[in-house]
């Protein structure tokens, strides 16, 4: 892979890691939020729904700025984290947070589509067999949502690979430390003759997402088969 420089390789590796971790965090979070939106009788569901959708509606830079305000050392949450000695801003963890927030609307909506298909009687059956609400959630609802979770995961992972605006604000653009593929591409665009480098990174992004897409198709296909057979 000599068409990628060492910092490029670091960016690829970091991007893959950030997208993976973000997806792994967004999955349970999205599942719980979807559950609240679909099954619970909570008031103000519409408000929550809108809140989850914000990162889709607002430009990523704005989301990044809002996150920066909250999580920065002077922010509401950042102040606490600082006291606990947790550093977030300008670390790869910040990139993960940005990707989780940006990917969440896609995740939640996918899972909702899946959850709304589940026959409530199945959940009732589980309850009468002694499963608590939470037990039924994890042993019945969760496995039945699996295809929707896969779709949501795919979308979140893909979106994380391409996330730029929120990441650059929250995590900074520090080569080797927080520079993901989109940020590296940005750097290339600030360099004479950077196109070839940018192109190489785009290709890597595309290859990664293709691999993941195929992996997921295989997963979905296997699920369908095991469900039938």
């Amino acid at each position: 892979m000599d068409f990628l420089s060492p910092t490029d390789l670091q960016a690829v590796w970091l991007s893959a890691r950030v997208a993976t971790v973000a997806t792994l965090i967004a999955l349970p979070l999205g599942f719980l939020l979807a559950w609240v939106l679909v099954f619970s009788r909570l008031r103000g569901k519409a408000l929550l729904d809108g809140l989850i959708n914000l990162p889709l509606v607002l430009p990523p830079v704005v989301i990044g700025y809002l996150l920066l305000l909250m999580l920065g050392r002077r922010g509401v949450i950042g102040r606490w984290l600082d006291r606990l000695g947790i550093e977030l801003i300008f670390t790869w963890k910040a990139a993960v947070i940005a990707c989780v927030v940006i990917g969440l609307p896609l995740m939640v909506r996918s899972i909702r589509l899946g959850m709304e298909q589940i026959d409530p009687q199945l959940v009732h059956a589980a309850r009468t067999l002694g499963a608590s609400r939470r037990d039924a959630l994890f042993t019945v609802v969760l496995p039945l949502c699996a295809p929707a979770l896969v779709t949501g995961g795919t979308l979140t992972f893909a979106r994380s690979l391409g996330e730029f605006g929120a990441t650059i604000l929250l995590a900074g653009n520090i080569p080797g430390l927080t520079q993901t593929i989109p940020l590296a591409i940005y750097d290339y665009s600030n360099v004479p003759g950077g196109e070839s480098g940018a192109l190489a990174l785009c290709l890597v992004s595309i290859v990664i997402s293709y691999l993941m897409l195929m992996g997921n198709e295989v997963l979905l296909w296997k699920m369908r088969r095991s469900r039938q057979g």
């Binding site: 009732h124 059956a125 309850r127 067999l129 496995p143 057979g229």
Partner: protein, 351 residues
Amino acid sequence: MQLDVNLDKKLGDFSFTAQFSVTGQRIGVFGPSGSGKSTLGNLLTGFLSADNGRIELDGHCLFDSRRRTNLSPDKRRVAVVFQHAHLFPHLDVRRNLLYGQRRTPTKRRTLDLDAVAAALEITPLLERSVNQLSGGEKQRVALGRALLACPDLLILDEPLSALDRRLKEQIIPFLDRSLRRFEIPYLYVSHSLAEMRLLTDQVLHFGGGRLQVLTDAESLALERLGQDRDGYINHLQLSDPREVGSLLGYRWGRNELLLKVQEKPESGYFALSSKDILLFRKHPQALSARNLIPGTVTELMTHRGGVAVKLDCQGENLIAEVVREAAAELELTAGRTIYLAIKASAFRRLM
């Protein structure tokens, strides 16, 4: 089991009221569609909360509007088998069966998987995906799943109504056998009188959201004489088979009946429609029916379009139905002795 219920519930235009105490293992809930049978079930399992009232199961309070007690469904130990099996599609048969058992405190687990699977004859299916089961197999698994949770009460809400006649007949024996064997008290919800007669001792008869009466299936069946196209189904307990040519001779009280059946069960209940009994005033000769037994008329019940004849055949009771003209011609009156002709192929095994 002792169930004390006193409930009021309004659902839109529909209002449900029930107040009863029953003791027993095999309780039926009978009534037309929309009479509130499933509503009673939902109130008992806890998916609906009554507006007012109290539910006590074996002296244990499940719901009390005044004391604000309202156990959640998983705490009530009331299991349900629905019309559609609602098996968990992501689990195989074995894991479906174990779902409830795993959630039952160890000391309450009185049944084990192998025994239940054997009783329901689903042992060969244990490793299958539930999508590969037929309708009848699915219901048997659903029943097994509920049994293995060892509930204090099992609600069977029209568990057979989605199955065709053949499957129904196949599954009823499993139901009866396993419910008796594993001693799980149950409420059997249905609008089939035949199922009520086979599976229950007492019947809560609902109508229009109200408990009409606490009765039993036999009384209900007699009330409904002449309304069913298949006639009144006599249930005969037969035993001690012996081979008689190509037929089987079974003891029925002090009579012997010749049957043409596929298997040779040691003993059990057989169904005989009131319409499959031919009556003769005198002993006829050389006829194709293999059974010709004497009987005494004990009662005549005239109903729309026919006469039901209660007969005593050496101590065993039977109901035959004839048209009015026949009743007149045979000069049927209580106390008269007549002959009954029944074809060997008229019997059907019940369980």
